[in-house]
């Protein structure tokens, strides 16, 4: 099918350009916008593989929530300054990255080709996707029967994450009472620690 090939080619180009943009953009805001591009490309490939519900969730949760959260942090903290990439504080890290990247591409490509040969291609009998029902109905039934325990544990995880985020984002009470001085004290304390270390 020519349409499948065209959709895959366009989505693949979008994904790879976006991924390279995330890595090579100097400004974190540009990186975040490139990440959105990659996420949309992956969502297109989800649709191409009949995973319609996951494509919608990908756009809503990733592009809608996670990237917006990242952008909020970038904007609120004002860290949208270009990173100085001219120095290499950890000697040899860049060459090591090149070696890891080259080895990774080679190894993973070999694995990907081999995996298809190893896979028996045996079709599922217990959890078939094409039971004549929509994708979301099949997914929901499995999620609320076979995977119910994992689903409930997930809710506990989300509560823990919310509590943890609130605890970490809150200022300590002593600094809060001092008001604006709290920030300065924090900086001072930090400088002291640094001089002690030195």
């Amino acid at each position: 099918m020519i349409i499948d090939t065209v959709v895959f080619a366009v989505a693949a180009v979008v994904i790879l350009v976006g991924a390279l943009g995330v890595v090579f953009s100097r400004n974190p805001v540009h990186s975040a916008l490139m990440l959105v591009m990659t996420l949309f490309g992956v969502a297109v490939l989800f649709v191409a593989q009949e995973a319609h519900f996951l494509a919608a969730v990908q756009v809503i949760v990733y592009a809608g929530a996670i990237v917006v959260l990242l952008l909020f942090v970038i904007m609120l903290l004002g860290v949208d300054v270009a990173e100085n990439l001219s120095t290499d504080p950890l000697a040899g890290q860049r060459p090591a990255t090149g070696v890891v990247a080259a080895a990774g591409v080679g190894l993973l490509a070999v694995l990907a080709v081999r995996a298809v040969q190893v896979s028996t291609g045996a079709q599922s009998v217990t959890l078939p996707l094409d039971a004549g029902r929509p994708n979301i109905a099949v997914l929901a039934e499995v999620l609320f029967t076979d995977y119910l325990f994992a689903f409930e544990v997930t809710s506990v995880l989300l509560v823990i994450a919310v509590v943890g985020a609130v605890v970490m984002a809150r200022r300590p009470r002593s600094e809060e009472a001092d008001g604006a001085d709290g920030e300065e004290q924090g900086v001072e304390r930090h400088t002291d620690t640094e001089s002690e270390l030195a």
């Binding site: 099918m1 090939t5 895959f8 994904i15 790879l16 991924a19 995330v22 890595v23 990186s31 975040a32 990440l35 990659t38 996420l39 490939l45 989800f46 593989q49 009949e50 995973a51 519900f53 996951l54 969730v57 990908q58 990733y62 929530a65 959260l69 990242l70 942090v73 970038i74 860290v79 990173e83 504080p89 990255t97 890891v100 990247a101 990774g104 990907a112 080709v113 995996a115 298809v116 896979s119 045996a122 079709q123 599922s124 959890l127 996707l129 994708n135 997914l139 499995v142 999620l143 997930t154 995880l157 989300l158 994450a161 919310v162 943890g164 985020a165 970490m168 984002a169 930090h190 270390l197």
Partner: protein, 101 residues
């Protein structure tokens, strides 16, 4: 030309490797987070591909849980980053050594 699962798997491998290289290359903690998201997406693409090939819904269920855990991970990670950057603006990943006692 027929698009078969090998194409998807090779694309996923390239995406994962770009994410790994970015994680090693960049020092801004926020950009490092985005690179972790790239790696997670590469794995999700692999799961959906095998789910489609083997006609099995379990792969899509795993992707669903990966999405939830990724959301929780970003929330906690950004909390830590905000706590560090508030104390020391323009901190990079190298500066996390200040957590040392």
């Amino acid at each position: 030309m027929v698009v078969d699962e090998t194409w998807y798997l090779v694309l996923s491998a390239m995406l994962f490797t770009i994410g790994t290289a970015g994680l090693l290359l960049r020092r801004n903690p926020l950009v490092m987070f985005m690179c972790v998201e790239l790696m997670l997406n590469a794995v999700n693409l692999t799961f959906v591909t095998f789910s489609n090939v083997l006609n099995d819904v379990a792969g899509q269920v795993v992707v669903f849980f990966v999405l939830v855990v990724a959301a929780a991970e970003v929330v906690v990670g950004l909390g830590i980053i905000v706590a560090i950057l508030r104390r020391r603006p323009n901190a990079t990943a190298d500066d996390v050594s200040m957590l040392r006692g």
